[in-house]
């Protein structure tokens, strides 16, 4: 008797456990993609309070004025005020860096990829924020050594882009190809090597610049961030009581 009661009890418990763990089947779905605006929700006050100290310290530094620009600079193709400014700046700073540290690597060309310039520079006061918006990435300044063939391939790539950010070189574009390539005012020579100062992103083949990876005959990484170099350069100009500026000089032209 007792045994039967016990088994019945077990059975009941078993059934209870089973019915308490139902299988679920998915029977419907409803979806919506919602813009995150004031209509969706107010800002969560706890999280806003958590963000505030970071925001304050960030905005204080970002609002710092580092210099003045005579003109508004926008990137453009085949050449542009911003692209020329950035490439000229990188060439000047690259030459200065090498003169001090590695005279044998003095760059003849600077390349700033068009896609890497993420914003424009306004006329008037330039703040740290402007430079962060222009160059948000943590790229560093690097040096790549190319031979005649490498330079030709590199410049032809710029021509196929319809122009780009370059300094130290001049060329025309005809049917997507580079013609009359001049580096430091001279035609490029067989047997001669040319150092290009650029950023590590393109130097490792980014933006379809494979030539910097496959055609390189030498490489050096400065470990200096491009953004820090830009900020330092504009501060230096400001200390000299001058304003930054740029001009179009026909370095890249259509034939």
């Amino acid at each position: 008797m007792k045994r039967i009661v016990f088994y019945n009890l077990l059975l009941i418990i078993g059934l209870l456990v089973y019915s308490c763990q139902p299988n679920y089947s998915k029977v419907g779905v409803e979806t919506k993609n919602l813009p995150v605006s004031i209509d969706l929700a107010e800002e969560d006050s706890l999280l806003s309070a958590f963000i505030q100290p970071y925001k304050d310290s960030l905005h204080k530094d970002m609002s710092r004025v580092i210099g003045v620009s005579e003109i508004e600079m926008v990137k453009d193709k085949p050449e542009g005020l911003l692209s020329n400014f950035m490439a000229d700046l990188l060439l000047e700073e690259g030459v200065a860096f090498c003169k001090k540290n590695h005279p044998e690597m003095a760059p003849a060309i600077a390349y700033v990829n068009y896609g890497g310039m993420r914003s424009s520079l306004p006329k008037g006061q330039i703040t740290v924020r402007n430079i962060f918006e222009l160059m948000p990435f943590e790229n560093e300044m690097v040096f790549v050594k190319l031979g005649k063939k490498g330079v030709e391939e590199f410049i032809n790539k710029l021509a196929s882009h319809g122009g780009d950010g370059v300094a130290g070189a001049r060329f025309g574009i005809n049917d997507g190809k580079a013609i009359n390539i001049k580096v430091a005012g001279e035609t490029i020579k067989e047997g001669k090597h040319y150092w290009v100062v650029t950023n590590d992103y393109v130097a490792s083949g980014g933006d379809s610049m494979e030539v910097f990876k496959t055609g390189r005959k030498g490489f050096f990484a400065s470990r200096l961030k491009v953004r820090d170099i830009i900020i330092g350069h504009i501060e230096k100009v400001q200390e000299n009581g001058e304003a930054i500026t740029s001009k179009l000089d026909g370095r890249i032209y259509y034939e």
């Binding site: 029977v27 419907g28 969560d44 970071y54 990435f137």
Partner: protein
């Protein structure tokens, strides 16, 4: 009472129609619960790119929009209505505003944790400060970053990323796996070192079978940073949706795709899979309600047919 029944009918009708009609208030959840239905809500973002604050932009569709604190408030509100809610992200949390340049991954991961994110995955921009950048930032994440196809065994990140995560919400098991994009050619080699990239589709098939068949998950979600779709045969969120059998939802990222509603594709078994992406920068959130019915394992005929249709 009559009104409540009306609400419920209206809700079910929307489900049947597969429509995106809005329903208001908490009524459907409590009513559905009473009748053995349960709702799992998934809210998701992608490519936040350190957009902690709302955008200030010259573009009208962006200016004043976004902001983690707003996403947090929305998630809180939804969770209060339905505790069976998950907040997920599909990668590229890093890079894009000075918050990243100044504080590396710290502020974005901390704020996402505070906002209640349940899981995320690794996007290519997570590598922007190298493996060390990820290693240093990771302690600030209170939520797991699920990565199934990157193998970090030969790197300093060995053992830090779960291959899957299972969430239990009122008896419903939700399995989540994560797919990352090929880093070669996209990320500076020095920044990913010896990270091994495994074929996303192969890994997806392995993960979904494991989650569905071995772990008995009721819902399988893929967090994908592969990108929505590409020309040619390049692996993408859509390919994962079409070529798998047990994945119910692919939450995508990388291509910053603006979708008015999730794309529906048919999987290997001919069943409907949702493939979604919520633009970028926290300018949009995806909100998906999956309705479940308790039963003895057999699918409820009317609804199941519709879902599989």
């Amino acid at each position: 009472m009559g009104g409540s029944i009306m609400n419920r009918r209206h809700f079910i009708k929307n489900i049947l129609a597969g429509g995106t009609g809005l329903y208001m208030g908490a009524a459907p959840f409590s009513l559905l619960a009473k009748e053995g239905h349960k709702v799992v809500t998934i809210i998701h973002t992608n490519d936040l790119h350190c957009h902690i604050e709302p955008f200030s932009s010259s573009r009208e569709d962006m200016d004043g929009k976004g902001g983690i604190a707003r996403i947090a408030a929305y998630a809180k509100h939804v969770r209060a209505e339905n505790p069976n809610t998950l907040l997920l992200d599909a990668g590229d949390m890093f890079q894009g505003t000075p918050y990243f340049n100044y504080f590396k991954g710290e502020v974005i991961l901390k704020t996402m944790g505070q906002a209640g994110y349940d899981a995320g995955t690794i996007g290519n921009h997570e590598f922007d400060n190298g493996l060390e950048g990820i290693l240093n930032a990771l302690p600030h994440a209170s939520f797991p970053l699920v990565s199934s196809n990157y193998d970090f065994k030969d790197t300093m990140l060995n053992g830090l990323f779960p291959r899957f995560k299972i969430f239990e919400k009122s008896g419903i098991l939700i399995g989540v796996y994560g797919l990352g994009i090929e880093l070669k050619g996209l990320v500076n080699e020095n920044n990913y070192g010896n990270t091994i990239y495994n074929d996303p589709l192969k890994v997806a098939l392995e993960m979904e079978t494991f989650l569905k068949k071995e772990m008995n998950c009721h819902l399988v979600v893929c967090l994908s940073h592969l990108g929505h779709s590409y020309e040619g045969k390049i692996i993408s969120d859509l390919v994962i949706g079409k070529e798998t059998s047990h994945t119910n939802l692919v939450i995508g990222g990388h291509t910053h795709s603006y979708l008015k509603e999730p794309v529906q594709v048919k999987n290997k078994k001919g069943e409907m899979v949702l493939v979604n992406q919520a633009w970028w920068g926290g300018l949009m959130v995806g909100h998906i309600d999956f309705v479940f019915e308790a039963g003895s394992g057999r699918k409820s005929s009317i609804f199941a047919n519709k879902l599989n249709g």
